[in-house]
Symmetry: C5
Subunit: 322 residues, 5 copies
């Protein structure tokens, strides 16, 4: 499945040749080669690493998952780690992409096949005229695709936050717990995005700062564009965190409000029920109270119950306790 | 509806000519042209973009809503995105305004017709003598109008926050939930302003920093003035967030206070009601207690009920539980 | 009421002359003039502004209240806005003071007559020998007075915070709501101070940074001294915010504690009252239980009530629930 | 009680001479003099200030308590304010120490005699060979002693925080309120330390940055050492604030937990008590229910009470509500 | 137990020789020596310190535990303090490691034997070819091992946080208190890691910044690698704090939800129980109500009880209160 490409003077010359043919092309400075490795073993990487003179530390990082977006500069090449995102059935997955870039070669190492490298190839072909910018252009399209992926996730999270906001002032308690669970989960997703997606900003910013050392001047606006997107990712996720915080505080306030409401209802009904209890208690005494054992006692007792209950009910209703 | 203007040597020479006449004026360096496009299609922009040599990335950003105030510098022009605000029936809308500024042309692209470009034109005409500063002056009046719009929204939010503060220590519970909902909504508005209005500060600050590269020295104080306003927007919205936080914390404290209050009332009334219940329970026993079946039992029972109830009521009232 | 002064070579030469005499003195570089305007109209400022060559933007800011401490530098003069504070009957007012300073003139524009300019004059006269430093000295005394005013307000707020701390662990619930209201109000005052008093720091710091461009070297320590005071204002108000936060969290904890306490009391008393209710209920049954209709029933019932109640009461007391 | 010392060529030559002898020694550049003043009046400082040429603003600051650690640089001398700490009976006191340092003189002004200057003298004598570094060395030992004092206070606060943590999950409610009060008090102490002890860091850092302008190169590591201690003070107090926050949040959670727990207990017992009440209520009716007035009624009623009570008790115990 | 090593030209030449033989090797610039001291006394360090010319302040810091990761630069050597971590039975221990590094010597001082220095030796031997980089290489392996230790602890904390998240929405209340205790404890661990493990970042970063002054260029990527790990430690622990905060807020929400839930249940059952109480109270009156003393009274009473109870039960169930 590993993919390869060879560009010469900005034109795609060969594609899909075996990685073992690396040596033929690497020495040729007029050519730009690309190799893609999907979850490679140490042995897989050994050959390319030797041909391209990759630093053993970078190679080791590419094999072992290491969970931090970064840009390392070695004498003969750059080493980049970024994280692509994938939302599958509400689970947020991060796929580590390690990249080696030399003057005329780009090596991409994907942690798993779940990252859709074909989409990157489609982007390359859609702007084939830009292939003249060489490896930095290939890298640009890859980073652009990854950052677009972060956006898609943020869009889903944003929609979720809006749903939570809509549910917030509903009075159904089943929904309440659901809202809490979703709020918790949304916050968690944002924490993870902040750790693995947002720092892509520093990686791109740092590529941009090197400017013409590593890329043609005509590419700068394109990298600036990706950089803008990473800034937006950062601002957007910060903004969403703030909204989630807003939801949480509103939840706490809501619960306090509801508790007070319930307490008032309990109090009201307890008072209303206390009326007949008190009166029948009185008429249940074994002492000759007025009306003891006489029909008039029954009528008075019943009248007191009915009237007392109604009066209390109205009083509470007036104070909005019921 | 698209508006156009042509200034020559600081004097308005033509206005309302078709956008297709662009080419005639663009080459003329003694003239300053302005074009306004309202939610244009790709095709609409294509011509101008070609005439003025606008970068395709900037053109694409102008067409697609992209939600981030920014200033991009291209070789031959600046590209600015800012957001105008509109409060309609308590809904806060943002209208994206994209701006291209070359040496002698200003192109404004409005996302929707809800942004009142006529007001900007009125401002231009009110200070017609400043038209001698060219495109940067036109830009200034536009930014000034947009920032004034942010102020108007903040003023409304500020009034709202004061209302919330006034309602806070009212004891009416219906208002309580209303206050919570409004607090939530106000916080949300502030989060959005922080994301789309406050960063206008960086855009203006960045224009100011370039100084004489892009504008006449005499314009500097005017840009400084807009910059001051954007700083005030930032400080004001920060201050409002703080006040909303203050309101929220006070709400939580208030609810705690009220809950305690209600609990004390419940306890007091339950205790008061327990007195007759206990006594009539005693006199309801089928055992020959003192006064069983005798009038004296009735009088003692009734006396105990009345005295006990009054004593308890007074005791609770003294402790402020009722 | 508008005040004026003319210093020549560090000596007060004239005072109280009409503002219309401005032109006579302004051209004289050996003299330093001061004009004070209290809530002037546009017309009032027009003359001075023309004589001193003030920038129209600055003049406009001086007339319209604009709510932001700042220092603007124009070609021929500095424009400063600061806010004096006044606590009247627990209401915190801010009075905008706009200042124009040229090489040899100082113009102060007060928003209202509530700012006591006479106290500033007293300070000038108390250190008459420093008048040799010209306009920057006059400005120094004014800023010093304003910052001292901020201190007085902070001292009052500090005392208030200490009162709140003392009241915090009192058990009287009426005080509780009072404490909440005061806490809310104190926080609000601090937010406003932070917005309008604390940024005086940047204004003074910025004057200090220009150093010998605008003031004699001998004045530097005096400006440094005011700057130290503004730093202290900032630190103090930050510290007070922290203490208010501490009070608020303690309040929440206290309320939680009290609610638990009340719940325990309710539970205890409910349990104690349940004892006689249960027993008299038993003895009220119309079935021949042991002692039914016999004196022994009464004695047993009464004994059970007394003993049960006492035992429960002691048990709860031991667990500190009562 | 005021102490004085005269070092010549790093050797202590005289000590305890009257402050009035200042003039003899100050002019002698081969000597280093030290004067200590404890809560001096303006007059006390006047002479020294004249001899050493101290700036009147610094002298004024030394007399009036001013609550801010700082380092001011004047032409001929440095002026330093720092705060020594003292914990007496759980009260945290701060003692202001003002210091003037010229090339060959050190003047220390203590706000009160509670700061133990003798301990500083002991430190000087313990490292007598370092006296060759002159006034900066004397200053170093003083600052070192003051920062050590901050450490002692932090150690006590740290112990207190650990006690609070240990008490946190105890179930005794009296302790609960105690814990809250202590938490509040600890937070308050940390706020004050942050304001008056932590900024000593900036004072020492600023001395260090001037380096060889004011001190011999051999002293640098010693100042670096004090600086490290001030950094540790800052980090430690920050860490303690964090732990206090942790305790507070745990308290809130704990109270919520306990409240739920109490509510469950109340509910359970109320339900259990409701069983006999309901049954005896039934058997108390004046209608010929099965067993009315017959021994079988008594047995059935009693059996229902006992069985019902036991069943409910077990059910609640199983659900952990009791 | 103290270990020693002597490398010459990158080759291990001697090992385990007595520390007293130091002098023989220290003068030899072609050799690199390593000494390890485990909780040494002042006397133990005196000799080495004299031979290598270590600064007395650094030596003192190495002996006294001082609780702050730092890098001090002295004329002839670097002094480093870092903290190794150890999790034993859920207790987080920190072991202070002090390091002196001169051009050709490395001295490690361990606070306790619990830090496994043998593992560091194993690392040295595993990459024996790198010994040619001298003392900085030895230091690298040591720091790498310590930072790996921090990772292991963070991994355990991370697992713990996931467990807490899983338990969060369980309804078992025993677990609730357990979750609270664990949350508290996890937060505490993170605070301590932040204070003693995270600042290792500054130490390594500062070594890296000195670059070729202290290490061979070939070592830079290796130090960069450790630095990346320390950055990850910082980001990871920050991220975990955030997740713990998320858990805490969810707990508060959950408790509020459960309290409301319990209150509804209590209310419902109290209402249901009130039905028979009220009815049997009525039929227990000693007045001739319809059915008094007649079988029909019994049937009506019983019917009312059964129907009333069922109706209420269904009503509450429909509203989700049961």
């Amino acid at each position: 499945m590993d993919r390869t490409r060879l560009y010469r003077n900005g034109v795609l010359e060969a594609e899909g040749f075996p990685i073992d043919d690396v040596s033929e092309h690497v020495g040729d400075t007029s050519a730009v080669v690309w190799f893609d490795l999907c979850s490679p073993t140490q042995a897989d990487l050994a050959k390319i690493s030797e041909e391209l003179g990759l630093h053993p530390l970078a190679v080791e990082d590419a094999i072992h998952s290491q969970q931090r977006p970064k840009l390392d500069t070695y004498d003969s090449h750059l080493f980049i780690t970024v994280y692509a995102t994938r939302l599958a059935e509400d689970e947020l997955d991060f796929i580590e992409i390690s990249i080696f870039m030399t003057r005329n070669a780009l090596v991409t190492v994907r942690e798993s096949s779940e990252f859709d490298i074909d989409e990157v190839i489609r982007r390359w072909d859609a702007n084939a005229d830009m292939a003249k910018f060489g490896a930095p252009y290939l890298l640009h399209a890859l980073l652009d695709h990854i950052v677009d992926g972060h956006f898609e996730v943020l869009q889903v999270v944003d929609d979720r936050v809006e749903e939570l906001e809509d549910d917030l002032f509903q009075n159904n308690s089943r929904d309440m717990q659901h809202v809490q669970r979703r709020t918790f989960d949304t916050h968690k997703k944002l924490v993870r995005l902040r750790r693995l997606a947002v720092p892509t900003r520093e990686v791109v910013g740092s590529l941009l700062r090197r400017g013409e050392d590593i890329m043609d001047r005509g590419l700068t606006p394109y990298y600036q564009d990706v950089y803008d997107h990473t800034l937006r990712t950062a601002e957007w996720s910060e903004s969403l965190r703030d909204l989630v915080g807003n939801i949480r505080e509103a939840q706490v306030n809501q619960q306090g409000f509801r508790l007070n409401d319930i307490m008032k209802k309990i109090t009201s009904w307890a008072a209303i029920i206390a009326v007949p209890t008190m009166i029948t208690g009185f008429y249940g005494q074994n002492v000759p109270y007025p009306g003891f054992g006489q029909p008039v006692g029954f009528w008075v007792s019943t009248a007191l119950i009915v009237v007392g209950t109604i009066l209390l009910y109205r009083a509470f209703q007036k104070r909005n306790w019921l």
